[in-house]
C-alpha cells in the first residue's frame, strides 16, 4: 500500500485488516488468478500533481488552436458560451452526483433536468422530453426503434443527405431488429427532400419518416410539413431532426406535424471538445403509445407522499433496463445529464430574446457568407435560406483536399469534406459560420478560398 491523497484508508490499512482477521493485503485476493504483466505505458508509481500538469502541458503544446479561423461545418460547432454555465456545472453537488435514484436527496439535479425537459418542449413545441440521449445520431436511431415498436412495421426512411457516421449509427441500432432503412433522395437543385421520391417510398410498411431541417448541407427544408402529411397518410410516424439554435427563428417540429423531435444540444452552451461533448435531444407528443415506448430517463413532477411540497422523481422507470432488462425500451443508463444542465442554463441565461438573437445572427451571417463566397467565384451549392452550414463544391475531391491544405496554410480551418459521405457531392465540403464570426473574418474566408482554389486548381 502506498500513501495517496485519493485513498484515505491507506493510513488505516493494518488496523482494518486485523479487524477482518487478515494478515496482509494478499489475503484479500486469494481468490484471484494472478499473472504478472507489463503495465507499460502506465507508470509504475504515482505521478505528483505538478508532474501531471507538466505532462499535460507538454502533450497539449502539440495542439495548435489559437490563431486559426475555424469554419469547419457539419457539427459540432463553436458558439458563444456565457461564462456562468461553466460555474454552474462545476458545482460539486451536481458534478459528483450520480443518476438521482434517491429523489429526496437529489432534488437539485432532478429539478434542473425537469427544467431542461420543459425548455426543450417549448423550443421544439413537443409535450414530453426525456432527460437526454448520447447525441443526435443515437437519438435518431432510438426514434427509429420507437417507430418500429409503436407501428409494428419494419421500414424506416432517412434522408440520403445524412453524413456517413449518422447513417452508420442508425444502421447499427436498427439492423439487428430487422428494420430496413430506405433513403429518400434530396433535390440536387435545393438540397431539400425530394417529395416525389418520398411519395414512392412511404407506404404500408413504413414505421417512420425522418427528415432533418436544417439539413447536413445547412439548407432549411420547407417540406417538413408535407413530409409529415405523407408519413401520417401512410400510417407512419414523423420524426423531425432540428438544430435547437435554429428554432429561435424557424418553425418548430411540433407545429409542422412531427410526432418525435430529435436534435443535438451541443450548440446550447456546450464546447465542441473534439467531438466529445454531445447531447441527444429526444422529445415526443404526449400520447400514451409514444410515452410508454420512450427511451431514457424522464423526470416527472410530484409531491410529498400524503400531500406536501412539490418535488421531482424519475418517472415511468418500468420502461428502463434496470427494471425491464432484456425487454426495456433501450439499454441507455448513463446519458448526458450534466450537459443537459449546461443546455438548460444556457437557455435560461439567453432567454427568449437571446435565442432569437443568436438564431437570426446565424441565419443572416450564413446568407452573407454564401453570397460573399459566391462573389469570389466559387460554386456555392443550394440557393435559398441556409442556417450555419453551407456547401462549397470544388468539383473534384483532390481539388477539395488541396484547397483545404491551402486554407490551413493561410490560418483557416476549412470545410468538412463530403467525399467519404458518398452523398453525391464528392468534391464538396461543408463550411459553417456562427454568431461568433465577424464580417471581416467571413470576407477573409471568401478571399482566401478564391486564392486557394487558384493555387489548387
Amino acid at each position: 500500500m502506498i500513501k495517496h491523497p485519493y485513498i484515505p484508508n491507506t493510513a488505516s490499512f493494518g488496523e482494518m485488516l486485523s479487524e477482518i482477521g487478515a494478515s496482509g493485503a494478499e489475503d484479500l485476493f486469494v481468490d484471484l488468478p494472478r499473472r504478472s504483466f507489463s503495465a507499460d505505458p502506465v507508470p509504475a508509481m504515482p505521478m505528483g500533481e505538478a508532474g501531471v500538469e507538466a505532462e499535460l502541458s507538454g502533450i497539449l503544446s502539440d495542439v495548435a488552436m489559437h490563431g486559426y479561423l475555424n469554419f469547419v461545418g457539419g457539427g459540432p460547432w463553436r458558439h458563444f458560451i456565457p461564462s456562468a454555465i461553466k460555474h454552474i456545472i462545476s458545482r460539486g453537488e451536481f458534478l459528483t452526483s450520480y443518476t438521482p435514484y434517491q429523489p429526496e436527496i437529489s432534488q437539485g439535479m432532478l429539478q434542473a433536468l425537469f427544467e431542461y425537459q420543459s425548455m426543450v418542449c417549448e423550443l421544439y413545441e413537443m409535450d414530453v422530453s426525456n432527460a437526454s440521449m448520447y447525441d443526435l445520431a443515437t437519438a435518431a436511431a432510438e426514434a427509429a426503434l420507437l417507430c418500429a415498436r409503436v407501428t409494428g412495421r419494419k421500414e424506416f426512411i432517412i434522408p440520403e443527405s445524412l453524413p456517413w457516421e449518422r447513417k452508420s449509427v442508425i444502421r447499427n441500432y436498427t439492423e439487428p431488429q430487422g428494420i430496413r432503412l430506405l433513403e429518400v433522395r434530396y433535390s440536387r437543385e435545393n438540397g431539400w427532400t425530394d417529395m416525389e421520391d418520398l411519395k414512392q417510398k412511404a407506404g404500408t410498411a413504413t414505421a417512420g419518416v425522418y427528415i432533418e431541417s436544417p439539413t447536413y448541407f445547412g439548407t432549411i427544408d420547407p417540406g417538413m410539413r408535407a413530409a409529415a402529411d405523407l408519413a401520417h397518410d401512410a400510417g407512419a410516424l414523423m420524426v423531425a431532426g432540428a438544430d435547437p439554435l435554429s428554432l429561435g427563428l424557424i418553425k418548430p417540429p411540433g407545429s409542422l406535424g412531427a410526432d418525435i423531435a430529435v436534435g443535438d444540444g451541443q450548440p446550447l452552451g456546450i464546447p465542441p471538445a473534439f467531438g466529445g461533448n454531445s447531447l441527444g435531444i429526444f422529445a415526443c407528443r404526449g400520447e400514451q403509445r409514444l410515452l410508454r415506448q420512450m427511451p431514457g430517463r424522464i423526470v416527472g413532477m410530484t409531491e410529498e407522499t400524503g400531500g406536501g411540497a412539490r418535488g421531482y422523481v424519475l418517472a415511468l422507470a418500468t420502461r428502463e433496463q434496470h427494471i425491464r432488462r432484456g425487454k426495456a425500451t433501450s439499454n441507455i443508463c448513463t446519458n448526458e445529464s450534466l450537459l443537459a444542465v449546461a443546455a438548460a442554463a444556457y437557455m435560461a441565461l439567453m432567454g427568449r430574446e437571446g435565442i432569437k438573437g443568436v438564431s437570426s445572427r446565424i441565419l443572416k451571417r450564413t446568407t452573407y457568407a454564401k453570397r460573399r463566397v459566391a462573389e469570389e467565384g466559387l460554386e456555392v451549392r443550394f440557393p435559398g435560406a441556409s442556417f450555419r452550414d453551407f456547401v462549397v463544391d470544388f468539383g473534384d475531391p483532390r481539388v477539395e483536399a488541396r484547397v483545404r491544405a491551402e486554407l490551413l496554410r493561410d490560418g483557416i480551418l476549412g470545410g468538412r469534406p463530403l467525399k467519404s459521405d458518398g452523398i453525391g457531392i464528392p468534391g464538396g465540403s461543408v463550411f459553417a459560420v456562427t454568431e461568433l464570426h465577424q464580417e471581416a473574418q467571413i470576407d477573409r474566408l471568401a478571399v482566401a478560398l478564391r486564392a486557394a482554389l487558384r493555387r489548387a486548381g
Binding site: 452526483s97 429526496e104 411540497a309 418535488g311 439499454n331
Partner: protein, 499 residues
Amino acid sequence: MFRQARYDEPTLFELSREGRIGVLMDVPWDMGGGGGLQLDAGLLREDLKLPEISQVGVIRHYTRLSQMNWGVDSGTYPLGSCTMKYNPRLNEDMSSDDRVQLIHPWQDVSTVQGALKLMSRLEWMLCALTGMSRFSLQPAAGANGELAGCLMIRKYHRDAGDLKRDEMIVPDTAHGTNPASASMAGFKVVEMPTGSDGEIDLELLKGALSERTAGMMMTNPNTLGIFESNVTKISEAVHSAGGIMYYDGANLQGMLGMSRPGDLGFDIVHLNLHKTFSTPHGGGGPGSGPVGATAKLEGYLPVPLVSRNGGSYYWDYDVPHSIGKVRGGGGSFPILVRAYCYILSMGLEGLKSSCAAAVLNTNYFAKKVEGIRGLNVAYPSRLKKHEVVVSAEEMARETGVTALDLSKALLERGIHAPTIYFPQRVKQALMFEFADSESKEEIDRCVASLMEISEAAYSEPQQLKGAPSTTSRKRLDEVRANHPRTMRLSFRHKPSADL
C-alpha cells in the same frame, strides 16, 4: 446533525419576468444590406416562450438547486456497482483547457496531434491494464460500449457464415444493461441462474451452450461482489462451443491492476471510465465506455481508431471488419483527458492500492454488518471484492421495515443509500460499494447508522416509515409523476390545480 437545504425553489418559468435578460450579446454587425433573411414567411416561428431571468437570478437558482443535491463531494455515496470515487480536481482543471474544449474533430489532424497522442496513449494504457490488444474510445457510456461489443460479436459470427448463433448468455446477477444491450444487438438472451455459492454454475452453463451460442456477457467480480472462481473454465467452455467472452467492466474496481480480463479468457472488454477511472458521474453523464478487443476481434472495433504513422497520429478508418459507429464523434474527449490524468496520478502501484482499499473497505464493512439484527450478508462465507450485498429480508419479515425504508433512513442520517432491490435474486437487497474513497471513520459511521436503524426497526418501526425528514424533500409519491402533464412545466403547461 444532518440537514439538507430545503427550498421551495420555483421553476425557471415561474421565475421569469418579461424584459429581463441573463447575458448581454454583442451588437450585431451591419450586414451591408446583403445579409438579409432569405426565409419564407411560412417558415418563420411566431413566438418563442423561454424564461426571462437576470444573470444573478439564474446563478442563485442553480446554487440553491445544487444545495439540494448530493454528490461524492457532499459525503458518503455507497451506491453499489456505480463506483462513486472521489473526482480529482486536478483532472477538472486539465480537461477544461481550451485545447481540450475548443478543438474540432474535423480540423486538420496536423493541428491536433497532441489530442490524438493523448487518446493513443490512453488506449495503450487501457490495453495494458486489461490485456486487450486495441481499444476504441468511442462509446459514450458503458451501455453504449456493451452495444458495440455485442454488435462486434454479431458481425464476427456473420462474417464466418455462422448465422444460427443468436443466443447471448447472461447471468441473472448481471446489470440490466447487459440483457438490454444483447437484445438491441438482436440476440436472444439466455439467463443463467446463479448457484448457491453466488457464482455461475459451470455444469448448468455447459448445458446451455450449443451451436446457437454467440457469446457470454460476464461481470467479474459479479454484482454480489464475488469473484467468479471458475472464470477460466467458463471461458474455455464458451470458446470450445464457438462463443465469444464479453467482459463488462462495471466492476473492474474489484480486480484493478491485480488480474486482467484478457488473462482470464475474455475477448472483448468495455470499461466505465466514470467508475473505475474516477471521472465525475455528472448526475448521470457524460460518461465514457471504451470497448477493447483481443487480436481475434480487434478488426471489428468501431471506427475511427487513433493510429500512428511514423511520428504522426491520425483517425484510422481502415479497420477491416469494423461495425462502423455507435455514436457520432470519436469519444467523450474531456472524459478521456480526465481518465488519462487519473492513471498518471495513480501509476500501477496506486491503482493496485485503490483496488486493495476498495476490497478492504467492503470486507471490513461486511464483517461489521454481520452483527446487526435483521440484516444478513448475502453469501457470508465468500470473500468480497469491491461490493457487498446485504439482505434486509429478515428485518422486513419481522418488523415490516423494508430495504426501501432502510435506504430512506440512511438518507435521513446524511448517508446516500446503497443500490436497492438489486441483484434481484437476493431478497430485500442493499448493495454497498464504498470504492476507495471512504475513510474508516465514514464506514464506521455507516455501520453505526445501520445499527441505530435496526434498533429503531425492532422498537418503533413506524417511525422509520416517515423517513427521511432531514433531506430537501420528505418521501415522494413516485406513482403520481407518471403522467405526461407532470413531465413538463412551462408556459404551455402551467401547474394544474392539484399539483
